[in-house]
């Protein structure tokens, strides 16, 4: 019988090579172990969302006086009614959607273009440009608030969708460039050479080869950025003034009352409503990502 020691280092059990005859049993045990581990981690990851949803169904009184982690005594949809009464959730969601879409389009398109220029076309200062983009990955966004505000005021961009989209896209662009660059490294040179010999120029190659091959990276980039942009508070709070342009995080601010008092159950109801679209998009994109990965399996 083999004594199975706990794996000292992730990610897999460090079992020394064994005679092939006994190898067949190991995967089962390994699989059981990983399943248990995955289940445990899952609980930690999912529980908070469940808690959020449950809390949005509790009565105010129950939330205030009862154990907030116990199951609620009674369920009520009243918080949702209050949430819709207090805020303009529909408009907030629409605004967040516009900003997220706008920024994502810029991030994906411009990111692919830059990566294509740097990685595929190549030019004398490509290393410098790449380094320049790297700077943007690492700069904390707060640094830009005051300068951007002054600049926007000068060119009359305050309180517009653009005022949010531009910095959100600008600050996410480096990561997108970087991800596309590392992906384009995988595309074999021969593919391009073949296309070139067929007489395709850089624009056609971009449209016919690079773009279609990038789809799964696009999904990754969109996914990653949507999460950040959907919940962005800092730019929206700084650049947006009017009620009509408020995104979700700003809308949630309306639930804060005098001196910092918060109607938490209604706020949680609102949070649940506002994350639903992102969740749905995520579920759809998740499928697309799997497909992209399978079809692109030949790469590299």
């Amino acid at each position: 019988m083999i004594t199975q020691t706990a794996p000292p280092t992730p990610p897999a059990a460090a079992v020394p090579p064994k005679p092939p005859a006994k190898r067949r049993r190991r995967p089962d045990l390994f699989r059981t172990l990983s399943r248990v581990l995955i289940m445990l981690i899952m609980i930690v990851q999912v529980y908070p969302l469940a808690w959020l949803f449950l809390t949005s169904l509790r009565t105010e009184h129950d939330f205030a006086t009862g154990d907030p982690f116990a199951l609620p005594g009674a369920l009520t949809w009243e918080n949702y009614a209050r949430a819709f009464e207090t805020g303009d959730l529909g408009r907030n969601i629409l605004n967040s959607f516009v900003v997220t879409m706008g920024a994502n389009i810029l991030i994906v398109l411009l990111g692919m273009m830059a990566a294509y220029a740097i990685q595929v076309l190549g030019f004398r200062l490509s290393k410098l440009v790449r380094g320049l983009f790297l700077v943007g990955i690492i700069v904390p966004v707060q640094i830009a608030l005051v300068p951007l505000f002054i600049d926007y005021a000068a060119v009359n961009l305050l309180d517009t969708y653009q005022s949010m989209i531009i910095p959100l896209a600008g600050f996410s662009l480096p990561m997108s460039v970087y991800l596309f660059c590392s992906f384009y490294e995988y595309i074999p040179k021969e593919t391009y050479e073949a296309a070139s010999l067929d007489g395709a120029g850089p624009y056609r190659i971009f449209g016919l080869i690079t773009l279609p091959l990038s789809l799964n990276t696009v999904v990754t980039v969109v996914l990653v950025n949507s999460i950040f942009i959907w919940n962005d508070f800092i730019f929206a709070n700084t650049f947006v003034l009017s009620e009509e342009l408020k995104t979700i995080p700003l809308g949630l601010q309306n639930y804060i009352g005098a001196m910092g008092k918060v109607d938490w159950t209604a706020t949680f109801a609102a949070v649940c409503v506002t994350i639903t679209p992102l969740l749905l998009v995520f579920l759809v994109l998740n499928k697309a990502m799997i497909q992209g990965l399978e079809s692109g399996a030949t790469k590299g």
Binding site: P17, L49, F69, G122, A144, Y186, E193
Partner: protein, 298 residues
């Protein structure tokens, strides 16, 4: 010197067509404000007063006279370390485990990413509840039930635990994201390579260190850089949960800079801290590239 040029026939114009639009946006939104910040760091300015050129006085103050700054710097490093372990370590473990699963992968991936979609406001409030002692929160209840009642404490008010307590939610929140990236990379590892290694009698561990990890190294570097820089940029959760407190126990450079700018209206000094953060991040990324790249060359 022409480093990587995959296309033999490409015109200079085509490079410009592809490069200029992204560069323009990037300069307008990122580089130009950074330069403005650099410029501001040599001034004393509260936003409404006349700007007063003070030379390096802000830098002198930062390095020699500001105890909060150094405290915040050390806190930021510790915060980063905890986030990295949770995010990268957690991501790698789960991604690897996931590849061994036959069913339910998609469901697990989806669920695993859930925390990332919740807004930081909600996360902060949730964790304040979890760490709370009076009324007793989830973590303390859990400790009690497994017989570790002596460890019970108000995690966010204890100066010894607060930094770890505010780092954990940030780490937890994005593990799923990095896991997805690493998982995608692991899937791309050619099956033939793995099968060949298995036939040669390689253990799972050898398989991982010799085949899989080297294969995903470029992605791993990207992920590490991403996690590091996001870690150094960490702001929302400590800001919302403790506002840097108690005392300066959970003050990070970013929260300190933000407060200096928007609470103290000391835009000049805040810009000085920003410049330091930029330099700090550059050094961190340089180190990562140096260490990981060197290994891959070896």
């Amino acid at each position: 010197m022409l480093p990587t040029r995959m296309l033999p026939n490409r015109s200079r114009t085509s490079v410009l067509v592809f490069l200029l639009p992204p560069l323009l946006l990037y300069c307008a939104a990122v580089l130009f404000p950074i330069l403005q910040s650099l410029f501001l760091s040599f001034f004393s300015w509260n936003g409404i007063s006349d700007m007063e050129f003070v030379g390096l006085a802000n830098y002198a103050r930062m390095f020699t006279k500001d105890d909060v700054f150094w405290r915040a710097f050390l806190n930021a490093l510790l915060y980063l370390a905890i986030c990295l372990v949770l995010q990268l370590g957690g991501a790698l473990v789960v991604a690897s485990l996931l590849t061994s699963l036959r069913r339910g992968r998609e469901l697990i991936k989806t669920l695993y990413l859930l925390p990332a979609v919740i807004s930081t406001v909600a996360i902060a409030f949730l964790f304040v509840r979890i760490y709370s002692l009076e009324p007793v929160g989830l973590l303390n209840q859990l400790l009690q039930s497994i017989g570790l009642g002596s460890l019970e404490r108000p995690w966010l008010s204890d100066v010894n635990t607060v930094l770890a307590a505010v780092s954990a939610p940030e780490g937890w929140r994005f593990t799923g994201l990095y896991m997805l990236i690493i998982y995608a990379a692991l899937l791309a590892v050619p099956k033939e390579l793995e099968e060949a290694a298995v036939l040669d009698g390689a253990s799972r561990w050898t398989l991982f260190t010799k085949i899989r990890f080297p294969y995903i190294r470029p992605v791993w570097i990207t992920t590490t850089i991403m996690a590091t820089t996001y870690g150094l940029r960490g702001f929302d959760i400590p800001y919302l949960m403790t506002n840097g407190g108690p005392g300066q126990s959970s003050e990070l450079l970013t929260t300190y800079m933000y407060k200096t700018a928007f609470t103290s209206t000391d835009f000049g000094y805040a810009s000085t801290i920003s410049v330091f953060i930029v330099v700090e991040c550059l050094v961190a990324v340089g180190l990562i590239l140096f260490l990981l790249k060197r290994k891959s060359d070896a």
